[in-house]
Subunit: 221 residues, 4 copies
DNA sequence: GATGAATGAGTGTTCATTCAT
DNA sequence: AATGAATGAACACTCATTCAT
């Protein structure tokens, strides 16, 4: 789960083996880092292999020693991001993080949302690139899907639990509800941080959290 | 608002005018219709001018007699869609359609959502193309924004009204709330109809409606 | 059989339609002619599309208005060659041309061989290119095969006829014999004219003819 | 003539020597063997140095410790083949093997042809690669030429001898005749074993032999 | 001698756009 | 207005060869 560069399913690219030496690893790392910068700067579609290689200060051909294609590096960049986020103890989906009991319910939801939105803000450039990628390449629709799946599943489970405890509207389908609320948060994050529609960060967190708890008819703390 | 092919602001393209004669109009119409088919079939990015011209059974060059570029036709296609939807009396944004008083509140929200989702389903191909376009070209981010602005504004107004009437949670920021709920519905529509995540249509409508009313803490009918 | 540019099966390339105008035809012709020169100069493998386009004095992209690939032009070049040869009344395979009765048998064989060898000498450059092409691309193995099939079939028929008339060794399998003698002549032609092993032309014709008639045990005139 | 891996003139490549140690020899051998497999599998042109090295389980760079280029290994592979054939007592060119006197003349020719064809069949993959190589690189035209020269010379000598003994058509030029008959057999072998045109092996041998003896007007046994 | 990563030149192909007819 | 051929810039990708460990 925290292996070098993983965490999300590596799209089954034949990924040029060649990384047995230290030197190879260094170059590969440089390429991933460079790619990230280029993708943030130019977006997924306008990013050019040549630029990535140049940014990493290696010859164009060396790119292909480590990656099979633009998709391939991009997947690696996303995987590294995922790793970073896990190491930073950040969860993703804007969902309840499952411990509804310890802190107040509302606090729990708020913290999850805040963490998600902060993370999104920090990586806005990459997120924008990812939306582009997903708009163009089904492979990244899948990556995006899997990325949110964890959190949707977790949320759905939490919702079901709350329903059983009489703490959430029993009429709601937990799965679809989880999807809907997740969609709401991530889309708002996209609009705010990637597209730059200006909303004060705290207002955002509060509103989202209130909508989430309201939507489930969770009792106020 | 219902001028030939408008309704949304025509991006200030120098649009090769030249649409005086009846023949010219017919060609233009054929191109727009053809373009729609091609965009639906191939998506925004993979659509090629040559194919659009061929589909319209006109020479490649004739395309440029009527449109300046791919963006230009696409804008025309979207404008025509908008017109069709208005003529069909369809509203868009998943919002309350403003007559909260007459039918039950819940019914009003449900109808609006149902109408939106049905419309989305009918035009799923084009919506997918539009998401692509917006992911690539800021011009279409704007178009998409304006497209939803009407409905967000209307929803925000309705929310504010409900709040004043004591029928909606007064803590919510009407504007952001409207955005959030709109985002929720449209994103869910995208996932369901453009990406094919399967959810029964009626369950979708019901869940969305319930989330919407819950989120606002609207009283049950 | 003598349609514009045909005679051998056009390999089923989607061959870019675009040749409805006179101008288009002229460009296409120029490209075929240019391609022939380039193939003769550089061989099949080293021929570059850019060079062909340049030689034809058109933009690189224009090449693709008329041909899908290098294989495609090369097929067109060979087809045109075939047409030229048919128009020139030249037969190909070094075989008896079927009228064994009128002139002496020996004379018949000799003339066929002479015609074949002269034609080969005239088009040696192209033949060399074709051998290259066939060595690399099965498509041209097939072209070469079909090219000789006509003559092999004709020869096989003639041999069978001679056998029935008691004028040829009845122990020989007509089909394989035809193949063998055809192979002998064409390979000798290749060695002599494409590879430049020097043999006086007339000696070549005579030897080949004598071997042919001897091999079949045809009676001397 | 029987130096390590020779028998045919090693084209004057500066051949990275370096074959002093036992280890070096083993690597070199592994490379030649690997190269043979790769050439058979992929043909001369599509064979890649990297694949050869991989197949030999050595690093890419090690290839260049032993060979200067692809041509260079290929020459070595052919040389080794030649050696093997000599050790196996196999002669090549489809010619009379010089002992016209002892067994019947016909038997002699037949055995030579059979041996040649069997050898060709056994090494069909390599022969196909060699034809490719010769189609592309004059160096291998030369190799091929030298390879057959031995046999053509031997045949020419035999033909001359037969002519002097009154056992062969005196009108034929021995040299060209030898070339022609050799071409016939090798080309037939190529078509049958490398290109897969199906002919029963024994029919092939018989026909070829009969054509050969007929062509020379050798008396039947 | 072996290793395997780095190099970088070389080219086919696409497609939006123009323009002569 | 329509036609459809011509234009040419743009870019990914391969692979033989080198060279620092």
């Amino acid at each position: 789960m925290a292996s070098p560069d993983s965490g999300i399913d590596q799209p089954a690219q034949p990924q040029p083996a060649a990384t047995r030496t230290r030197r190879g690893m260094r170059t590969r790392d440089a390429l991933v880092a460079a790619a990230r910068r280029i993708f943030e700067r130019d977006g997924y579609l306008d990013a050019r292999i040549v630029d990535i290689a140049a940014e990493a200060k290696v010859a164009t051909g060396s790119f292909y020693t480590h990656f099979a294609s633009k998709e391939d590096v991009f997947a690696a960049v996303l995987a590294r991001l995922q790793d970073e986020m896990l190491h930073a103890g950040v969860s993703d989906g804007g969902g309840d993080d499952g411990d509804g009991g310890r802190k107040g319910l509302w606090r729990g939801v708020e913290e999850a949302n805040r963490a998600y939105l902060e993370s999104y803000r920090r990586n806005a450039g990459l997120m924008a690139a990812m939306e582009q990628a997903a708009a163009v390449d089904p492979q990244f629709v899948r990556v995006r899907l899997e990325r949110s799946r964890v959190f949707i599943d977790r949320s759905a489970a939490a919702i079901a639990r709350l329903q059983r405890s009489g703490l959430a509207d029993p009429e709601l389908d937990p799965e679809i509800t989880a999807r809907a609320l997740s969609a709401m948060v991530s889309r708002l994050a996209y609009a705010t941080f990637a597209l730059g529609e200006s909303v004060p960060f705290d207002t955002l967190v509060e509103t989202v959290t209130r909508l989430w708890t309201n939507a489930l008819c969770m009792p106020q703390d």
